[in-house]
């Protein structure tokens, strides 16, 4: 009897152990199931490179190039801001800060990670958006730039904590060796520790950007949601994620619009999959 019970429990554990694989496949299959239906009427290249997104005009125009460019623009902006600041902050926490300060800083980074994105979006709407509007004298502050700043902020916790881990896991002997040769602390960090931690830091940056591309609510609330090809970072844009979130509520189940939004989901899934697999490779290279 006990043998049987153990047998059942062990099989149950195995099944749950494999659940993650099952769910990843399930997500992809259901995105495909709904999304691929679109390509009966629209060719993949029309979809990916079409320059206009008018899903409810007659006939509907379902080109996601403006949305892809919107996501790319906002992500690039966020990367430019968050990578230098995030990595610098990670170095400061890992190497420079005194023990007490370190704890406080780590807690505030965790705090930032915990704030829901809709709350950050709201705060961005009432503080950052008016600021951008007055500083650049724009008709509206709902721009790609506002989105980039907010998203940079949201990518920080990921970048800082993973980069800090990477710095922390370098063997202490590397640093000691450099110091023993007469290097200053900064020289040891710059010439020895950063190169040694480079693959971990690269992974940190990639995962941070993955978070940025996938972020939805804050971006929808502060980038202005105009599905046009952006010419400057001071224009409203619309990202892939915001398009799904904003339009799925109105799309009729089974309509072309509905299928198109799932096809956008497939694109997002593939991007995040590629980013995560690559980042994982970098993280494992370290060991």
């Amino acid at each position: 009897m006990r043998k049987l019970k153990e047998f059942i429990i062990e099989k149950l554990i195995l099944v749950c152990g494999l659940a993650s694989i099952f769910f990843v496949i399930l997500i992809f299959l259901f995105l495909l199931k709904e999304g691929l239906a679109l390509f009966g009427t629209v060719t993949p290249s029309q979809f990916l490179f079409g320059k206009s997104w008018y899903p409810i005009s007659e006939p509907a125009q379902l080109g996601i190039l403006p949305l892809i460019l919107g996501s790319v623009l906002v992500t690039l902006g966020a990367a430019l801001i968050s990578i230098p600041i995030g990595v610098a902050c990670a170095i400061y926490i890992a190497e420079v800060a005194p023990a007490k300060t370190k704890e406080i800083l780590k807690a505030s980074i965790e705090l930032l990670a915990a704030i829901p994105s809709v709350v950050l979006g709201f705060i961005g709407m009432v503080t950052l958006v008016p600021l951008v509007k007055t500083v650049f004298r724009l008709p509206t502050g709902l721009t790609a730039l506002s989105g980039s700043i907010m998203l940079a902020f949201m990518a920080m916790p990921t970048i800082v904590s993973i980069a800090e881990d990477a710095l922390y896991s370098i063997p202490k002997t590397y640093k000691e060796g450099a110091l023993a040769l007469g290097a200053t602390h900064w020289q040891a960090i710059w010439r020895v520790m950063l190169p040694a931690a480079s693959s971990g830091i690269l992974a940190a940056v990639m995962l941070g950007l993955g978070r940025v591309i996938g972020e939805t609510m804050a971006v929808m609330m502060i980038t202005g949601n105009a599905a046009v090809i952006p010419h400057s970072i001071l224009q409203p844009v619309r990202t892939l994620t915001a398009t799904i979130a904003a339009e799925m509520g109105e799309a009729v189940v089974g309509s072309e619009h509905y299928f198109a939004l799932f096809a956008v989901g497939i694109v997002l899934f593939i991007i995040s999959f590629a980013i995560n697999v690559t980042a994982d490779l970098f993280l494992h290279k370290k060991r």
């Binding site: 554990i13 152990g17 993650s20 769910f23 990843v24 902050c89 829901p116 709350v119 995040s272």
Partner: protein, 282 residues
Amino acid sequence: MKNPRRAQKIAFSFLFLATLLIAVPVGLIVVIIIVKGLPAISWQFLTDIPRQGMRSGGIFPAIVGTIYLVLGAISFALPIGLLAAIYLSEYSRDNFLNRMVKLAIVNLAGVPSVVYGLFGLALFVVFFKFGASILSGSLTLGIMILPIIITASREALESVPYSFREVSYSLGASKWQTIRNIVLPNAIPGILTGTILGLGRAAGETAPILFTVAAFYLPQLPDSLFDQAMALPYHLYVISTQVPNVDEKMRYGTALVLLVLVLCMNLVAIIIRYQFRKKKKW
């Protein structure tokens, strides 16, 4: 770079400046929400239904909805996540399958939240015909927080020293007996921490519930798993972007309640972790 001491000083000031650029806004955000939100908080705000097209009244249905969703998500994700963590830490060997499972967890953690929303819509709402309901929303959120629970539980299980297991085996206990009586009890604080962090994440997410459960406005409380429900994060989104002329106070008040809810959970998790580290026997 002729003077390395001076170079170091300059470099370190830049690092410090960068750190301030993150830490100061975090503090500001929290302070702004508390200062502007606090005047809105009253017994009536917390316990009344929204009135006058959500321009006055309270947020009670949204609070209740969020609690239902979080409880639903955790009762789905905790058993599966815990067993998956046991599999990874106690049963799996270092082989291809194990590598695939870990990669799947990483990917599950990286799937954009709105894609979870799409998935929940396609699978639970449309395919299983659960409709937009607490059930669909909870399951969607549950799958989303699965990686958080697995990762935290696995770390907790793996941090139990191997010698504990050896002693148990040497007394004649089977593998499952060892896990249940020795490994799990020692890993509980870590598992709890992960679970609470998962709860916090589920409470704050908006995109996965947009099309699976969230009701724009619902003056009564849901009374079955198949009902739609309001939820705090979606309510905040609605009153800050969809409904014109909502008093600022209402928005800040809602943001404050949501923030306090999420931060309290995180605080509890941090306290458990801290207590546990102090008492750790090994």
